[in-house]
């Protein structure tokens, strides 16, 4: 684990992160976590902190509402630090009411390219906080099963995974590898045109057809798969006769796609409701501050 001696503390939250790491190390969850309905499933957030707050305004605050997040908390948006910190705090305070899964962006490699690393340097002055967070990401579970019926994962399926038990065998406390079952679960996408597994344009994971989904559900005695990973203009998408659902929770993605977002509310009878929302008005003001004469100086104070 990274040591943090000689660490220049710019924010009082920075040294709390090592506490999360301690707790995460102690209360390790399984690779595939058992979750009980009712629960609200949330897709990619990608550092859109104000939209995360908006999401809670629509779906209800924790602990009253239970949440299952499917990963991709950081990168691309302007407030990855605030987003992941807030979610970590909620997890610490209400561990039974929120589950955080790992997404393909919860890695050292990807966060160095898509913004989280840069943001940490800008807001904290050195890479220590990023190192602590990416260590923490190694502890996030890979998947979840709701009521033994619904399989939840960030991206999709793998040719080397037929049973849930295969996922439980993965050694997850590491950087997500470039290939193999772990990578596939974090990178794959559904294919409406072909059957079986085919190569993915992403360069990691595979595309998989309806037959793969049906077989997996049948083999594991489950009814549905929930995942995120792909942008949906309407906030969600259902495929394969309702058996495969994508939830997307970053409205107006990258502040330019003008898409809607949704959270998937599952009640105790497993009724589904895609609660749709658009981006929060606070984003407008945040943008103005960013673009203002002293842009870059004021944004340090949003959360820290």
């Amino acid at each position: 684990m990274t040591s943090f001696s000689g660490f220049q503390r710019k924010s009082k939250y920075a040294f709390d992160i090592d506490k999360y790491l301690e707790l995460a190390a102690k209360a390790v969850e399984d690779n595939v976590k058992q979750v009980q309905s009712p629960v609200t499933v949330v897709g990619d957030v990608h550092g859109q902190f104000y939209d995360l707050i908006e999401l809670f305004r629509v779906g209800g605050e924790i602990p009253n509402t239970n949440y299952l997040f499917l990963g991709d908390y950081v990168d691309r948006g302007a407030f990855s630090v605030e987003t992941i910190t807030y979610l970590m705090l909620l997890k610490l305070r209400f561990p039974l009411r929120i589950t955080l899964l790992r997404g393909n962006h919860e890695t050292r490699q990807i966060t160095q390219v898509y913004g989280f690393y840069t943001e940490c340097i800008r807001k904290y002055g050195n890479p220590t906080v990023w190192q602590l967070f990416t260590d923490l990401f190694d502890y996030l579970p890979i998947g979840a099963i709701i009521d033994d019926r619904i399989f939840c994962v960030h991206a999709g399926l793998s040719p080397t995974i037929q049973h849930i038990g295969d996922i439980k065998d993965i050694k997850r406390f590491q950087e997500i590898p470039h290939e193999g079952p772990f990578a596939d679960l974090m990178w794959s996408d559904p294919d409406t045109d072909n059957s079986g597994f085919t190569l993915s344009a992403r360069g990691a994971g595979y595309m998989f057809g309806q037959d793969v989904v049906n077989r997996f559900l049948h083999e594991n005695n489950m009814s549905q798969i929930y995942r995120a990973h792909q942008l949906c203009m309407e906030g969600y998408q259902t495929l394969f006769d309702g058996k495969f659902c994508t939830v997307w929770s970053a409205p107006n993605y990258c502040y330019r796609f003008e898409n809607l977002a949704s959270i998937l509310e599952l009640d105790e009878k497993l009724n589904m409701y895609f609660n749709i929302y658009s981006d929060a008005p606070e984003n407008e003001r945040a943008k103005e501050i960013e673009n203002s004469q002293f842009g870059g100086r004021n944004d340090d104070n949003f959360f820290i």
Binding site: P38, F56, V58, G60, P63, N64, T65, L96, D267, N271
Partner: protein, 571 residues
């Protein structure tokens, strides 16, 4: 020993190439002065700083000017730093003048007359145009107490206003207003107003804009009659200026201008120019106009509003931008109070009812938020069948903020019109909040329910509200979020019930909730019981509540255990 070191240290620190280090060093000048004392400050520090002006970069000089504005008090002679600042003012037009203005407040009248005012004049006729620009800002603090220098100062200022260099005319235009407020009236009218007129027609639109903005303090200083005679024409021309920036400034500042001119002149002269701006080609001008309009309505006659403004609005908003339509909604809501009931019903309300269906959510939101003001004027008649249908549809609006505003409106209408109207027309729509899909909307419903409970009291709560809440609570296919909303609704009205009523109406629901299959519901009721324990009678507490909580303290869910235990500890 220490004294010399402080100044030497400063000199050393300023040798560096790093600007931010130099600036940091400058910000410690106060310490240096305290260390080396008054004499050495005057003999050594000030000359040293003088030398810096030649060779140092702007940032360092800004820092010096800024610091001088803070440390001048340390020396007994308040004019000690003036020469230094004067030289700094020749180089920079912003920070030095601020510090000079600060110091001027502490100078004696004699010092103003004999030192400060001559300095201003020197700057104003100096070679450096930066110095001349700086001087513009200093006429205002200098004038009032400068006695023998007053004539000179006025003459100098007007000379500056006639300069070729646009930058200087700009600085004059921006300070013209506040300078004018220091002058004796006859000087203002005879000397300043002609210059004002001239600058208002300057070829540079930036100068014309500054004139307009500068005009406001001046207008307030003059009487309404004086304004009508001398400045009205200039102002009306600004409203028709060929540059949109000037028209924008006119639109933005219109409300303040109407205050200065008063109702009559506004009504007869200014309003014409203004209504044109509502149809201006530039969207920014239009938007500024509609925003200002809301603020200046109080200065307009009802007749003008009805016959001039409203027709203009009707035509202007047809395919306008969102922000304009939002502004129209705001203006119309404010108008109701001024134009009275009949006119509102005939002319204002129809426009609002159209805007409320606009495809843009912000417009719908604006209208909804303003409707309560209209409702206050119109009265319960506003609740026509079509109005109620619109409200009902809006409780299902795609945007949750609109839905939330609707429930807030319904709550406020109910408080306004009273229980009978509420029961007849609004109650059933209102209670649908219990089923609304967004958490924040349900919370607004709960908030308004509490206000209604306070107003309509136990009778309504017991006979109408609680039964409906219980009905929703018991619906089999209802999700846990909705059951918790019911519990919070009950919590909201508990303070307005007697303990007996709580025991008979509310507690049975709580008992049922304590056995709810979902842990969130169980700990929610534990939290509610804890918070509202003073509303529950002792015997219910011991016979019903405590046993229930004790079971929850051994619940399988840790959060339930926690909240139940907290509640038990305080019971």
């Amino acid at each position: 020993m220490e004294d010399i070191n402080a100044l030497d240290l400063l000199k050393e620190e300023l040798e560096t190439e790093e600007i931010h280090l130099k600036v940091n060093a400058i910000h410690r000048i106060k310490t240096v002065i305290l260390c080396i004392g008054v004499d050495d400050t005057i003999k050594k520090l000030i000359p040293f700083l003088e030398n810096l002006i030649e060779r140092e970069d702007d940032e360092t000089l800004f820092a010096i000017a800024e610091e001088l504005g803070k440390v001048w008090e340390l020396l007994p002679d308040k004019t000690s730093f003036l020469t230094l600042l004067e030289n700094l003012a020749k180089v920079d037009e912003t920070v030095a003048t601020k510090s000079l203005t600060t110091i001027s407040k502490a100078l004696s009248d004699a010092e103003i007359q004999n030192v400060f005012a001559p300095m201003v004049i020197r700057l104003a006729q100096g070679e450096w145009f930066t110095g001349r620009v700086s001087s513009c800002a200093l006429f205002f603090p200098a004038y009032t107490r400068s006695n023998t220098q007053k004539d000179k100062l006025r003459k100098k200022f007007i000379e500056l206003c006639n300069e070729d260099t646009p930058m200087i005319r700009r600085a004059c235009a921006s300070k013209l207003g506040i300078f004018a407020t220091q002058l004796e009236k006859q000087h203002l009218i005879q000397e300043i107003l002609p210059i004002f007129k001239q600058l208002s027609q300057d070829e540079q639109d930036a100068i014309r804009v500054l004139c307009l903005e500068s005009f406001i303090p001046m207008a307030k200083y003059m009487t309404k009659e004086e304004n009508q005679i001398h400045t009205l024409g200039t102002l009306v021309a600004a409203g028709e200026d060929k540059s949109w920036k000037v028209r924008l400034a006119f639109a933005k500042n219109f409300a303040e201008l109407t205050d200065a001119f008063g109702k009559e002149i506004t009504d007869s002269n200014l309003i014409q120019a203004f209504t044109q701006l509502l149809n201006d080609g530039e969207p920014e001008v239009k938007n500024a106009a509609i925003q200002s309009m809301t603020l200046c309505l109080k200065n307009l006659s009802t007749e003008k509003i009805c016959n001039t403004l409203l027709p203009t609005l009707q035509n202007a908003y047809a395919d306008a931008q969102t922000s304009f339509k939002g502004g129209v909604a705001n203006a119309l809501s404010e108008m109701a109070a001024i134009v009275g009931k009949d006119y509102t019903v005939q002319k204002v309300l129809p426009i609002l009812m159209e805007l409320i269906k606009d495809e843009n959510a912000d417009v719908r939101l604006n209208v909804t938020q303003g409707l309560i003001k209209v409702a206050q004027i119109v009265g319960p008649e506003i609740l026509s069948p079509s109005f109620l249908t619109t409200l009902t549809n809006m409780t299902k609006d795609a945007q949750w903020r609109v839905r939330m505003a609707v429930f807030e409106l319904i709550g406020d209408l109910s408080k306004l019109y009273g229980k009978e109207v509420f029961t007849k027309h609004l109650e059933s729509i209102f209670l649908t909040y219990l089923n609304n899909t967004a958490a924040s909307v349900r919370e607004m419903g709960i908030k308004k329910a509490k206000e209604l409970a306070e107003r309509f009291k136990a009778d309504w709560i017991n006979s109408s509200f609680i039964p409906r809440v219980i009905e929703v609570f018991n619906v089999d296919k209802q999700g846990y979020n909705y059951r918790m909303c019911c519990l919070h609704s009950l919590q909201a009205v508990m303070p307005f019930l007697s303990k007996d009523q709580v025991a008979s109406q509310v507690l049975p629901v709580f008992v049922k909730a304590m056995k709810d299959p979902i842990p969130n519901v169980r700990f929610t009721v534990a939290k509610i019981i804890h918070k509202m324990r003073s509303s529950i009678d002792a015997s219910s507490v011991s016979q019903v509540i405590v046993p229930g909580l004790k079971e929850l303290a051994n619940d399988s869910d840790r959060d339930v255990q926690y909240f139940a235990t907290v509640a038990l500890n305080d019971l």
